[in-house]
Structure formats: structure tokens, C-alpha cells
């Protein structure tokens, strides 16, 4: 209640005052309306976090690290994250670059394919994978990494694609070629450095996905970090809640760091803001 009152009175006194000093064209902002929406959103998103924090207690946040099985579970998740990320980048980067340069008509198809894993239920994919995977793959947790590559595709592809578009790839590559650079030199010394931000955000999104994925890991019976969170401490739940919060905050900090870093860099190179996801934009340009 107390939080709403100042926002409301602030809106009352300054609907005009606020638009002008910002230098924004009048009519483009709806200040009161905007603050109400963000306030409601803030309440909905922050109260559960706070409730969880209170339930777990601040001390539990640190004590997660010392629990039995924490190390093994985290190490498995980290290994999976590394393998997944390496395969994802090795697979998606050349494909995206190639399609941008040589097969622009295929881009639309590629966007369609890479969005599929968002909507194909992981449970159903698990059924299929367990059905067809050869035995030697089923006996290793790295089968999970291979499938996570598929799950990470929507985010990784979009991050890389956004980076490629900000770059004006064609001009850059032609310039590099006309200065006598071969393909490999161009890729490694011209394209890659320019895609640092895009690759970084693709990496973080992939890592976040792997570190948080529960459905497949639990169905395949591997104790990754998210599965450990549940299996461990089923009685009090405090450690589980604390571990969940830890994971959430760490991911968030990473993403914040990347967008700050990325925006600063792209401002220098004259590109756009670092974005995490873009669907409509790509489809429009591919047209």
C-alpha cells in the first residue's frame, strides 16, 4: 500500500512535467500507466523471491556449497554445460554465417527449424530419444549434452543471428577478401572478433539452460544440479530453496554483465543494443 501511494501522487502532479524534461516527443510515454504496470510486475516477480529468501534464511544461501553431493552434481552439470556449449557454437556459428552469406533464402527455414525445440515437449523428445538412442549413448550422461544442443538451438541461433545482422557480414567479408585474406583468416580474424558479444550471449543462454534443465535429466536418471536440488533435502526444503535462489541470482548476474558489456561494445562499433532474443525481426528481414 505504502509503495503505491507515492507513485500515484507522483503521477497526479506531473503528467505534463514528466514528458517534457525527458526530451521525448510528447504522447510517446504514458508515465502513470507505465509505473503501475511495472509495479504490479515487480510485486508478482519479487514477492516469491522474497518469500523464498525468508523461508530459506540468508545463512542457507552460503551453506549450500557444503552439502553432500553438491560437488558431484555441480561438476556433472558443468561438464554437460561445457560439452553442450562447445557443440552448439561449433554447429550453429558456421551454419549461421554460411546461411547469411550464401543461402539467404534458407534463413526463414532455419528460423522455423530452430524455433521448434521451444514448443516440442521435452517429455515427448525424451520418449523418442530413449527409443532410438544406441545403447552406448544411453549409458553415458553425455547423451544429455547431445540433446541439450537441440534444446539450446532457439536461443543460441537467435543470439548469433542477431550479432551477424548487426555486423553487415557481407560487406565485412568482401572487404576482407579483397584485401587478400582467405576464408579461414576471414572467419577467425574478422568475423569471430566482431561476434564476441553474440557468442557470449549464446554461451550464457546455453549454459543457463543446461544448468537449469530438470525434465530430461530426471527422466534419464542422471543427478545433475537441478535434480540434486530436489533429491537432496526433501524433508526441510530449506537447502533446496536456497540452492534455487543461488542458481537464479548467479545466472542473472551473468546476463547483466553480458548485456552491459555487449551494449558498451556495440555502441563503440555502431551496432544496436545487445538483445537476448528476437523472433519477428529476423523473419521480417529474411523476407
Amino acid at each position: 500500500m505504502a509503495a503505491i501511494a507515492p507513485g500515484g501522487s507522483g503521477g497526479m502532479e506531473s503528467p505534463q512535467a514528466r514528458g517534457v524534461p525527458g526530451g521525448r516527443p510528447p504522447g510517446l510515454t504514458l508515465p502513470i500507466w507505465r509505473w503501475v504496470i511495472l509495479l504490479v510486475a515487480g510485486v508478482y516477480f519479487l514477492i516469491p523471491l522474497w518469500a523464498a529468501l525468508r523461508f530459506a534464511g540468508i545463512k542457507a544461501l552460503g551453506s549450500v556449497v557444503t552439502q553432500a553431493g553438491f560437488g558431484d552434481a555441480l561438476w556433472l552439470s558443468v561438464r554437460l554445460a561445457i560439452v553442450t556449449t562447445v557443440i552448439t557454437i561449433l554447429l550453429m556459428l558456421p551454419t549461421a554465417v554460411y546461411v547469411h552469406l550464401r543461402l539467404p533464402k534458407v534463413r526463414r527455414l532455419l528460423e522455423g527449424i530452430t524455433i521448434l525445440p521451444i514448443v516440442i515437449p521435452p517429455v515427448v523428445l525424451s520418449v523418442g530419444v530413449l527409443e532410438v538412442a544406441p545403447a552406448y549413448l544411453k549409458s553415458t550422461p553425455y547423451l544429455l549434452a547431445l540433446i541439450y544442443v537441440i534444446l539450446a538451438m532457439p536461443f543460441a541461433y537467435r543470439a548469433i543471428d542477431a550479432g551477424l545482422r548487426a555486423l553487415d557480414l557481407k560487406t565485412v567479408v568482401e572487404a576482407s577478401n579483397s584485401l587478400g585474406a582467405g576464408w579461414i583468416t576471414t572467419l577467425l580474424r574478422v568475423v569471430l572478433p566482431n561476434l564476441k558479444t553474440a557468442l557470449l550471449s549464446a554461451t550464457v543462454l546455453t549454459v543457463a539452460l543446461v544448468l537449469g534443465e530438470f525434465t530430461m535429466a530426471s527422466l534419464f536418471l542422471y543427478q545433475t544440479f537441478p535434480v540434486w536440488i530436489v533429491v537432496f533435502d526433501q524433508t526441510s526444503g530449506q537447502i533446496s530453496v536456497a540452492a534455487s535462489l543461488d542458481a537464479l541470482f548467479v545466472t542473472w548476474l551473468f546476463l547483466m554483465a553480458i548485456t552491459v558489456f555487449g551494449t558498451r561494445q556495440s555502441r563503440r562499433t555502431g551496432g544496436g543494443e545487445a538483445t537476448l532474443f528476437s523472433v519477428a525481426r529476423q523473419e521480417t528481414r529474411g523476407n
Binding site: 511495472l38 510486475a41 514477492i47 516440442i120 545466472t251
Partner: protein, 321 residues
């Protein structure tokens, strides 16, 4: 195939020399496209996307085909049968589909609208502003947040002894006395919005950025009021993208498994949970493949939604260039 096309093309151009004005150059180029070397060149062009294609085929297409085939097979490698489909579309499983669809529709439309409003609020903030940065990265995190941690969060908040539940009972309104239950469909819907709203923000922001300030200015110069701008310009331009994003949310809600499983310990009749229980070995003998039939059902529902999505995006693309 290529041979015959080339053969029929050649006499045509011989018989009609005047028609192909630019002469031998065009002719040889056309021949190159249609004959052996042309195919080779085409193969070389496509070679760059072969690894990706192979990976997707192995990791996505073949498993999904296996599910589809299994849906029509008797257990233990038996022959063709429709029994799985019949079981999957009756009784508790039919109920599961109904509940899943209701839940997905609700958690697509409400977060869709709310997410659009939030995205617009973020969008009108200055580029690079701290609010915008926090909101966008938070969306990235929360959209991927789900499963057990999310369930814990809400049990601590709206569970029978959760924080908000206690606040409300202190105010004399215990939601559990008024038909609320975190562990039924309504409760699950509230929890789903926690990742659905951020997902909406992420996918609709690019569409909002496609709204040109120039359109707004033009409308205002012509004397349009704010509501008129939205009614006649912004709304119609945004509508296809908005509906497309809502369909994406629908698919995402339908596919969600971990959150509902963790929250209700699998007690809620949703199709994805029912499939999961088949994988966990919770099976009546003779019904081993019903899980695949359920999976096929989910995929078909989502495929229908995706066809709509693609059609809508194509319409949206016309305006957002």
C-alpha cells in the same frame, strides 16, 4: 531426371534462336544449372548446412518419428494397432488433454496481454536505461526458470503456510477458505505465468521495436489521438505478431512438465505429466505405447498451433520491414 530436362531444353533453344537474345552465355548458364555440374554446384552450396541438417535429423526428427511410429505399435515390437490411440483419446487421458489445453490457453492469453504491457513499458524507457537493462535480463532469466526451484518459490509464497497466504489471512481473507489451491489447475496457472510473462516480453519486444516512431508522428500530424493511433495504426500492425507470440506461449505451456510435476508430485491430470509417468515405468502391461500416442497427440496440437504461428508471422512481416 536432370538429363531429360537438359535434353528437352537444348532443342528448344536451337529451334528458337532469336528468343534467347543474349545467346550462348545464357544458354550455357542454364545448361550448367540443370545438368550434372549444376547438381554438383548445388550440392556444394548446400554443403555448409549439412552438419546442421544431420544433427537436427538425428536429434529431433528421428526421435519424433520413432514416437509417431510407436504410437501405432503393439508393445514389445508387435504389429500395427489403433488401441494406443483409442486409449489415449478416452478416459483420464482425454481429460488430461482437456485440462492441458485449458491451462495452456489461459496461461497463453493472460501472460500474453500482461507481457505485452510490460514490454511496452520497457520499450518506452530510454535505450540503455538501467530499468530496461534489468527488465530484459530478468526476462531472460525468468523465462528459463521453471521446474522445482519455481515450485519451491511458490510453495513458500502461496502454499498453505506461505508468506502471502499468511498476509492475506492476517487481513481476514485466507485464500484457502475461498476455494484457492496452489496444487490444482488454477494454482498451476498462477505459477506458469512466472515464466510465461517473461517469455512474452522477450519475444514481443522485437515486434514493438518494429513500430516506427514516424508512423506515430504521421498519425499525430494528421490529428489522431492516442486511442486512434492504436486503433487504426499500432494495433493492426502489432496484432499478427501478438497473436503469433501468444501461440508460442501456448506451445510452451503445453510442453511444460517439470514445474507441474514438482508442484503437484504428478497428481494433476496434464498430458505432459501423464507421458512422464509412462517414462518413469508407471505402466499397466499392454499399454506401454500409450505414452507415445499421448506424445503424438501433444505434437499434433502444437503443430496446428505452429501452422497458425507461421501464417501470422508472415502477415506481420509485411509491415515490420
Amino acid at each position: 531426371m536432370d538429363q531429360t530436362v537438359a535434353a528437352s531444353g537444348a532443342p528448344g533453344s536451337l529451334a528458337d534462336p532469336g528468343a534467347s537474345g543474349s545467346g550462348p552465355a545464357t544458354q550455357s548458364r542454364r545448361a550448367a544449372r540443370l545438368t550434372g555440374p549444376g547438381v554438383l554446384r548445388w550440392l556444394r552450396r548446400v554443403a555448409g548446412i549439412v552438419p546442421f541438417g544431420v544433427y537436427v535429423t538425428l536429434g529431433l526428427v528421428i526421435p519424433m518419428i520413432a514416437v509417431a511410429i510407436g504410437a501405432f505399435q503393439k508393445p514389445n515390437g508387435g504389429g500395427f494397432t489403433m488401441d494406443n490411440i483409442k486409449t489415449a483419446t478416452s478416459g483420464v487421458y482425454l481429460h488430461g488433454f482437456e485440462q492441458s489445453i485449458i491451462l495452456s490457453v489461459v496461461t497463453a492469453i493472460l501472460p500474453g496481454i500482461f507481457g505485452l504491457l510490460i514490454a511496452y513499458a520497457i520499450f518506452t524507457a530510454r535505450r540503455g536505461a538501467i530499468l530496461r537493462r534489468v527488465a530484459i535480463t530478468a526476462s531472460g532469466v525468468f523465462a528459463n526458470f521453471g521446474g522445482v526451484p519455481l515450485a519451491f518459490l511458490f510453495i513458500a509464497t502461496l502454499g498453505s503456510s506461505g508468506l502471502v497466504t499468511q498476509w492475506l489471512s492476517d487481513l481476514g481473507f485466507n485464500p484457502y477458505d475461498h476455494g484457492f489451491n496452489l496444487y490444482d489447475l488454477g494454482g498451476v496457472a498462477i505459477v506458469y505465468m512466472y515464466f510465461q510473462i517473461p517469455l512474452m516480453v522477450l519475444v514481443i519486444l522485437p515486434a514493438l521495436e518494429g513500430l516506427r516512431p514516424a508512423w506515430r508522428e504521421a498519425a499525430e500530424n494528421l490529428g489522431a489521438r492516442t486511442w486512434q493511433y492504436w486503433r487504426y495504426v499500432g494495433g493492426p500492425v502489432l496484432l499478427p505478431s501478438f497473436l503469433g507470440c501468444v501461440l508460442l506461449l501456448f506451445g510452451s505451456a503445453l510442453a511444460a512438465y517439470a514445474t507441474a510435476e514438482a508442484l503437484t508430485s504428478g497428481a494433476i491430470p496434464l498430458t505432459s505429466i501423464q507421458i512422464g509417468s509412462f517414462l518413469n515405468g508407471d505402466v499397466i502391461p499392454g499399454q506401454e505405447n500409450v505414452g507415445k500416442a499421448l506424445g503424438l497427440g501433444l505434437v499434433i496440437i502444437i503443430a496446428v498451433a505452429m501452422v497458425f504461428y507461421v501464417m501470422l508471422q508472415r502477415r506481420a512481416a509485411k509491415w515490420l520491414r
